[in-house]
């Protein structure tokens, strides 16, 4: 390979590593609530930050430990009953954040193929409009008094 080509490839590789591929959506404070090993489901929480200059829409979520991963919201009706609502899309305006928290919007992992234990980590990817993915590592934690 000519040296110039090699240098160009090297420079390209360095540039690809230096520039985050998912610059528009960052995930902070991610965690999964630990559940019993026989549990078929578990929930995840995080803050999703749109650091870009345009709105971003999450069109799907996936992880290798669950057959089906969804964004859900918890709605409270007039009688005080709580209902899960599947969010097919979640738009985050430019410069804004959306909090996924217990009893509120959250990630729902269903059909768990393996149940991660407290201390384990799980990568979860958010699929964005435009074809990009924003992935983050979610540590599995037992509940604490402050988690709501």
């Amino acid at each position: 390979m000519p040296r110039a080509c090699f240098n160009a490839l090297l420079a390209g590789a360095v540039l690809a590593l230096a520039v985050p591929a998912y610059a528009e959506l960052t995930v902070s404070d991610p965690w999964l609530r630990a559940v019993p090993p026989v549990s078929p489901t578990m929930a995840g929480y995080a803050t999703l930050n749109n650091t870009g200059e345009a709105a971003v829409t999450i069109t799907g979520v996936s992880t290798s430990v669950a057959g089906h991963t969804m964004l859900h919201n918890v709605k409270t009706d007039d009688d005080g009953n709580r209902r899960m609502v599947h969010l097919h899309h979640l738009e985050i305006p430019a410069g804004e954040s959306v909090v996924l928290a217990p009893g509120n919007r959250h990630l729902m992992l269903m059909k768990l193929t393996q149940v991660p234990a407290p201390g384990d980590t799980v990568e979860i990817c958010f699929h964005l409009n435009g074809g990009q993915d924003a992935c983050a590592v979610f540590p599995v934690k037992r509940a604490s008094q402050s988690d709501g």
């Binding site: 609530r33 019993p36 026989v38 549990s39 078929p40 009706d77 009953n81 709580r82 729902m108 059909k111």
Partner: protein
């Protein structure tokens, strides 16, 4: 000194009353609760009268619930651990009643609940039996048929029962742990 024979019984009476059980300020809820019989996580019949003699923390839910129910279970477990640290957990009984008997069999509850390390009794039964108990406690649950892995719309109150099985207080799902610990202690 001649008055001592008269004063002594009075002092003793005050001492006995003072050292006796303090009555809780929590009012008795006469509209909710009552006798029921379901099946426990060992597959044995379990009646509400078996809870008498202990303070109970009773709540409804289902194990396929990903968000609210595991959070409530974890918080009840924290209440239990605080009572354990105070040496009073043996007088308090957490009870989980499923409204999803189709999936929450006694066997599944027996596998699921011990993980929380809170000595939780899991109760299941026929749908008709569970509907009746839910009605007694004012609990609403509606199966969402739209999803393949169905969920429920449901109320999520937690009930504190005294040692006679009477409802003394209700809490929302995001209850304060110290509040329940304090209330439970007031009923011991």
């Amino acid at each position: 000194m001649r008055k001592l024979p008269y004063i002594l019984p009075l002092l003793l009476t005050l001492l006995v009353v003072g050292c006796g059980k303090q009555e809780s300020d929590l009012p008795v809820n006469t509209r909710l609760g009552g006798e029921f019989t379901l099946t426990d996580h060992n597959g044995e019949p379990f009646s509400q009268s078996q809870l008498k003699g202990k303070v109970s923390i009773l709540f409804f839910g289902y194990t396929h619930c990903p968000d609210i129910c595991p959070a409530v279970l974890a918080r009840v477990a924290q209440v239990y651990r605080k009572l354990e640290e105070a040496g009073e957990a043996d007088q308090v009984q957490p009870v989980f009643i499923t409204f999803d008997p189709e999936r929450d069999t006694a066997t599944h509850l027996k596998e699921y609940l011990p993980w929380f390390k809170a000595d939780i009794i899991g109760l299941t039964g026929s749908l008709a039996e569970i509907r009746e108990v839910a009605k007694q406690y004012g609990v609403v649950f509606i199966k969402d048929q739209e999803e393949q892995d169905y969920l429920f719309t449901h109320s999520d109150y937690i009930y504190l029962l005294d040692d006679q099985g009477r409802v003394r207080k209700l809490y929302p799902a995001d209850f304060t742990i110290d509040e329940v610990v304090t209330d439970a202690k007031s009923l011991l």
